[in-house]
């Protein structure tokens, strides 16, 4: 049974509709991110969409330095979700230099993207 679209489009369309969904493998029970056609852990194609808890921890972080005229400095980070997957994102609501590794964060959707704020 083929899905109506590829997993990447499904993920991005869901975000546009305000839903943050990741995959979970029905065969090996592991969560999967980014969205795949096959489970990268066991090879199964039985990947189901689930809503993550939204809880995460900053795994690493950087401040991209940019001239104020071009919009100023901004944060880019990697967040480990409670479900055991990692994603690139950014931490909103605090200064980019205040983001710390190990910081507990919560997901939200802004402009069709998943970003995080301190928990």
């Amino acid at each position: 049974m083929s899905p109506p679209s590829g997993p990447e489009k499904h993920y991005l369309d869901a975000l546009k509709e305000g839903r943050f969904e990741i995959q979970r493998c029905a065969a090996c029970t592991r969560h999967v991110f980014y969205p795949r056609v096959l489970c990268p852990y066991c090879g199964s194609e039985r990947l189901e969409w689930v809503a993550p808890s939204g809880r995460g921890v900053v795994y690493s972080t950087t401040v991209v330095r940019r001239k104020p005229a071009d919009g100023g400095d901004y944060n880019v980070c990697l967040v480990d979700l409670a479900e055991g997957v990692r994603m690139m994102s950014r931490i909103a609501a605090i200064a980019p230099t205040d983001v710390r590794i190990g910081m507990a964060v919560t997901a939200r959707i802004a402009d069709g993207l998943v970003e995080f704020t301190p928990a």
Binding site: L12, T61, R65, R90, I101
Partner: protein
């Protein structure tokens, strides 16, 4: 594979700035120098190998420009490590009897070439990387910066220790008349330089230069016919676990742990046998991670290991003796220059930077964002 093939010639061209030269012209100029070095001409070449970030069907373009009708063509593109990885298919082709003389070449006008911004936008449109690009990482620096930040967090590595790596590279470059950046550099200079993507400053990042390089690989039994001492391939290993940094399992451990072990196993050698190391230093954190992952020090101890000038001229372990990507040359992809410097060291052609009695050299290539890891071990005739 051990000892079955050897590098008979190496050459550089256009390193630093080569305004008005196309990428393929620089590659072919380097190829000419490598062929001259081996006492050969393009007429002798029956295998062509190249990788390019820009040239479509680059293997065809290289052969066409040279006037070669190759029996073997290879243009695997896995980032800057490609030219180290190319040793594997080229050796297999030689050993299978498909060809006799393989030319591996690279050229880039990344510094002076025009249209870079436009090309970058096209590439992003063709390969959107939907799970990273929207967050605007300034790549590659931001990916390496997050590896550095994690290593600092986990092991207490300091920015000063990373800066020591840039200073060591600069000291080697000062001994190399062909290096691009040779002015004095201190740890303080590195720390006070413009921050690019925390914790990496512009001096933690490689140069952006033009330049090309080439090497000629042939059967070991043929190299006695060539004018200069050959460098024999003793071992090579490849590994990759991710493309994007967000898919890297542990930002403090690279696939060099596997590629290094494979190369050492094939060579029948260990880190203690290596006289000179050429490590792909696109960023200071690279050198530190590869010293750990290749077994020259323990995981987490890289910061202390590089301190006190250990990898600088006069230190215990000679690393990146040409000045590396940080201070010698870095035209987009650096891999071929690792091989060239290793061969020069094994031949005793290093001049003021020559490592005394260098018999075993390790060249470690890195591609993408700590993604593809390829380790090659080369040696003189005595190491066979």
């Amino acid at each position: 594979m051990r000892g079955s093939v050897a590098i008979a010639g190496v050459g550089l061209a256009g390193c630093g700035e080569a305004p008005g030269w196309t990428e393929m012209e620089i590659a072919v100029a380097a190829a000419k120098n490598a062929l001259d070095d081996a006492g050969l001409t393009a007429r002798d070449v029956d295998g062509v190998v190249i990788a390019s970030t820009n040239i479509f069907m680059s293997g065809l373009a290289l052969a066409e420009h040279l006037g070669v009708r190759p029996k073997f063509t290879e243009s695997t593109m896995i980032g800057g490590s490609s030219f180290v990885e190319h040793l594997i298919p080229a050796s297999l082709a030689l050993n299978a009897g498909l060809c006799d003389t393989v030319l591996v070449a690279y050229g880039s006008n990344q510094r002076t070439g025009v249209g870079r911004g436009e090309a970058g936008r096209y590439k992003m449109a063709l390969d959107p990387q939907a799970f990273e690009h929207p967050y605007k990482p300034f790549n590659p620096p931001s990916s390496y910066a997050m590896a550095a930040a994690r290593h600092m967090h986990q092991y207490g590595t300091t920015r000063e220790q990373l800066a020591e790596i840039a200073v060591a590279a600069r000291k080697w470059a000062q001994l190399n008349p062909e290096a691009f950046s040779r002015e004095p550099l201190t740890v303080e200079d590195v720390l006070r330089s413009r921050m690019v993507s925390d914790p990496l400053t512009v001096r933690d990042c490689c140069l952006v230069t033009d330049g090309g390089g080439a090497y000629v690989l042939t059967h070991a039994e043929r190299v006695k016919d060539f004018p200069k001492p050959p460098a024999y391939l003793l071992g090579v290993g490849a590994a990759h676990w991710h493309r994007q940094i967000s898919s890297m399992p542990d930002l403090t451990v690279t696939a060099a742990t596997e590629s290094g072990r494979r190369a050492f196993d094939m060579a029948g050698l260990g880190p203690e046998d290596v006289d000179v190391l050429e490590l792909y230093d696109a960023f200071t954190i690279n050198t530190l991670l590869f010293l750990e992952d290749l077994g020259f020090c323990r995981k987490g101890e890289g910061g202390a290991f590089v301190s006190g000038g250990r990898i600088a001229p006069g230190g215990k372990l000679p690393v990146n003796t040409n000045g590396g990507g940080l201070s010698c040359v870095h035209p987009g992809m650096y891999g071929i220059f690792l091989i060239i410097e290793a061969v020069r060291q094994l031949r005793g052609e290093g001049g003021a930077r020559q490592v005394k009695d260098a018999a075993v050299a390790l060249a470690h290539g890195n591609g993408g964002v700590l993604s593809s890891q390829i380790t090659a071990i080369l040696g003189t005739k005595d190491t066979l």
